[in-house]
């Protein structure tokens, strides 16, 4: 049984924190809040959380130092860094300090939610699985083959990786930026709807000739692969 995810938000902007807590609660995630680095560090080391959402600039102890201190103490809870700084170099310093993901402000809540859920890893396939299955769709990571209803589908290498990432996080929303980051390893803004076009090509390959849709578009958020249809969002 899947327990509810519990996260800690370390953010000094009280209004933003209250908004986040409310939005996460609506998404079924319980959150605690700390408003400065020191108390955040204390709470994160004393309690057990699934994900820590840490603002980069905090009073009393800055976000990066909270992360390094936690890692030094052996606390390996996944960390998502929120930052109002630039993207180019800041991401690298953030991840180097021990963060697992990075989201520049301002962000869409859907983006944050999708990332927190992926970091929490309460859904989707376990890392060690060699074969991912969603309904009648099967992806073999070793032989690099994709079958649906036993029929092999021919995918381009990039389409394979796209599907692999979607299936690894099956049942979870993945955003366009997450796809660009994880499938293409780029963190920039592609300006146009490049990802959508790739996804629709992939969708054509895995859904054409089959009745049951698998890959659905979640409005205002991204994509999700799930067994039963494209019905709701």
């Amino acid at each position: 049984m899947v327990t509810r995810m519990k996260i800690l938000i370390i953010e000094d902007d009280l209004e933003a924190a209250a908004y986040l807590a409310k939005a996460f609660r609506e998404a079924g995630i319980v959150s605690d809040h700390a408003s400065d680095g020191e108390s955040g560090l204390f709470m994160a080391s004393e309690n057990s959380y699934d994900v820590l959402v840490i603002d980069r600039m905090l009073p009393r102890r800055d976000g990066l130092s909270v992360i390094s201190e936690l890692r030094r103490k052996g606390v390996h809870t996944p960390v998502l860094i929120l930052s109002a700084l630039g993207q180019v170099d800041d991401r690298v310093t953030g991840l180097r300090a021990g963060g697992d993901d990075y989201l520049p402000k301002p962000y869409a809540f859907n983006e944050l939610l999708a990332r927190v859920e992926v970091l929490g890893r309460r859904k989707g396939a376990p890392e060690q699985d060699m074969v991912y299955r969603v309904g009648d769709l099967e992806l073999d990571r070793l032989s690099h083959t994709v079958r649906r209803q036993g029929r092999e589908l021919l995918l381009q290498p990039r389409e394979f990786r796209l599907l692999e990432y979607l299936m690894k996080n099956a049942g979870q929303v993945v955003t366009r930026t997450m796809l660009l980051e994880n499938v293409w390893d780029y963190h920039f803004d592609p300006q146009t709807n490049v990802i959508d076009v790739h996804v629709s090509r992939l969708r054509a390959k895995i859904e054409k000739d089959f009745d049951q849709p698998l890959l659905r578009t979640v409005r205002g958020a991204g994509y999700m692969i799930k067994e039963d249809g494209r019905t709701d969002a």
Binding site: G86, Q87, V88, P106, Y186, Q191, T192, N193, V197
Partner: protein, 469 residues
């Protein structure tokens, strides 16, 4: 007076004062040493001459007795430039000789008078003159005392002359130095004043001012030159900043206004739930565009400030280009454009993969955006080595950019399409240029097909200098 004090505080004056003092001390030491030495030498000579004469006198006395001695001495005393001769009685009264008076007590002791002494001499004109001399006193067995001496006037005079010359020379040097200090110092001060006047004007906000140059190419000029170059750079940056803030004002205020209008409109109309929803979605869309513009601006300024320069590593450019082309290929395909890549294997450079990817993405995105009216629906991405550089270019067959607009389009927020009908931030090429500058390379724009009237196309080339290593 105040000005003199300022003058004295100049480095040139202080240094030359120090040199002058050192030089004067050395000169004085040298002069005193040389004169002292020559005086001692002359005294020694004098002593030798006197000793010889004394020996002769003793000889004459033993041969010709008192009378003979007296005669000889009389004769010698009268010769011009003669030595000093005194014949005195046992009590010291002068009996004969060419000396009018002596320092008292001089004749009491036999032998050298020791220190030089003062005496007065008979001259032909019977004029009494004070003289300085060195002498030897001889006591005869009959109690007579004979003094033989030699005038020290000449060496003494020589010494005085040299020392006087020293004083005069030092005086002239001092005055000369003062004049030169004044001239140099005043000149330096004047130029300094002019420079600080200019800097005051610059500080007051007139960045077009430059420091004065005399044209002599001296150290002041060189200083002015480099400071002027610095001012030029500051002026350019400032100009860029002003332009950027103007553009920001325009390009950020416009979508903000639209955003506000939409929100207002949504409130004003008695809309249904779904109507509100649609308005809110539009508003989010607008704000996303704003955020996108902000991010691009921030990124450009971070890249320009060199913040990302630390994150340079080995980049497989061939791979990056292939990835990027692969990323955009479906989008081009959707618009019936043919995105082709001509990329040789294994071209590596030292750079920032993210930024190069973003820059190339911007170029391909531009090509796709502006290629819809193209005669030849092809976009070609190629990677070649060309005289010591690696050139990554994206060539389209769209309307192209007129030669005189090429400098403008890389400026922030400049879009040739005045109506802004195409989506975009107007920052794409600015970012590419900033990225290329960070890689010590450049962005070159040219025609794809130069010899046609319309739709010459645009070839945007990212030129990376080859690693020297």
């Amino acid at each position: 007076m105040n000005r003199l004090r300022v003058l004295f505080r100049t480095t040139a004056v202080r240094l030359s004062a120090l040199y002058l003092l050192l030089f004067a001390l050395c000169a004085a030491f040298l002069v005193f040493y040389v004169t002292g030495m020559s005086q001692r030498l002359l005294e020694q000579q004098t002593k030798d001459a006197v000793a010889t004469e004394v020996a002769q006198i003793e000889q004459i006395y033993s041969r010709a007795g008192v009378n003979g001695l007296l005669r000889t001495l009389e004769r010698r005393a009268r010769q011009p430039g003669a030595n000093l001769y005194v014949i005195a009685g046992p009590t010291g009264e002068i009996l004969a000789g060419n000396v009018a008076s002596l320092q008292p007590g001089l004749l009491d002791k036999e032998g050298w008078t020791g220190e030089s002494f003062r005496y007065q001499r008979y001259t032909d004109e019977s004029r009494k003159e004070e003289h300085v001399a060195l002498a030897h006193v001889l006591v005869l067995d009959n109690g007579l005392r004979i003094l033989v001496g030699r005038d020290l006037q000449e060496p003494e005079k020589f010494k005085m002359l040299v020392r006087q010359a020293l004083v005069v020379a030092l005086g002239i040097m001092g005055i000369g130095a003062l004049i030169i200090w004044f001239a140099i110092g005043r000149n330096a001060l004047k130029r300094m004043d002019r420079m600080s006047d200019a800097s005051t004007r610059i500080m007051a906000g007139d960045l077009s001012q430059r420091l004065p140059m005399s044209g002599s190419g001296d150290e002041f000029d060189r200083l002015s030159e480099s400071l002027n170059a610095m001012l030029g750079r500051i002026e350019k940056l400032n100009e860029g900043l002003r332009q950027v803030s103007d553009n920001i004002a325009h390009d950020l205020k416009t979508p903000l206004t639209r955003l506000r209008n939409k929100a207002e409109a949504a409130l004003a109309h008695k809309a249904t739930n779904s109507g509100y929803r649609a308005s809110l979605e539009e508003i989010i869309g607008e704000s996303d565009q704003l955020i996108r513009t902000f991010n691009a601006l921030l990124m450009i300024s971070r890249v320009e400030a060199g913040a990302a320069a630390a994150e340079m590593s080995d980049v497989n450019l061939s791979q990056s280009v292939a990835d990027c082309v692969e990323l955009y290929e479906p989008v081009a395909d959707e618009q019936a454009l043919n995105l082709e890549a001509d990329v040789p294997d294994d071209i590596h450079i030292s750079g920032n993969r993210e930024l190069i990817g973003q820059a190339l993405g911007n170029l391909i995105d531009n090509a796709i955006k502006y290629a819809d009216s193209a005669a030849n629906p092809m976009i070609k991405v190629s990677l070649v080595r060309r005289d010591g550089a690696i050139v990554l270019s994206v060539a389209d067959h769209g309307p192209g950019v007129p030669t005189n607009k090429r400098d403008d389009v890389v400026e922030r927020f400049v879009r040739l399409d005045e109506s802004r009908s195409k989506p975009g931030t107007g920052l794409g090429l600015s970012l590419v240029e900033a990225v290329m500058e960070m890689h010590q390379g450049s962005l070159e724009l040219s025609d794809t097909v130069p010899d046609v009237e319309n739709n010459r196309g645009l070839t945007a080339s990212m030129v990376f200098p080859l690693r020297s290593a």
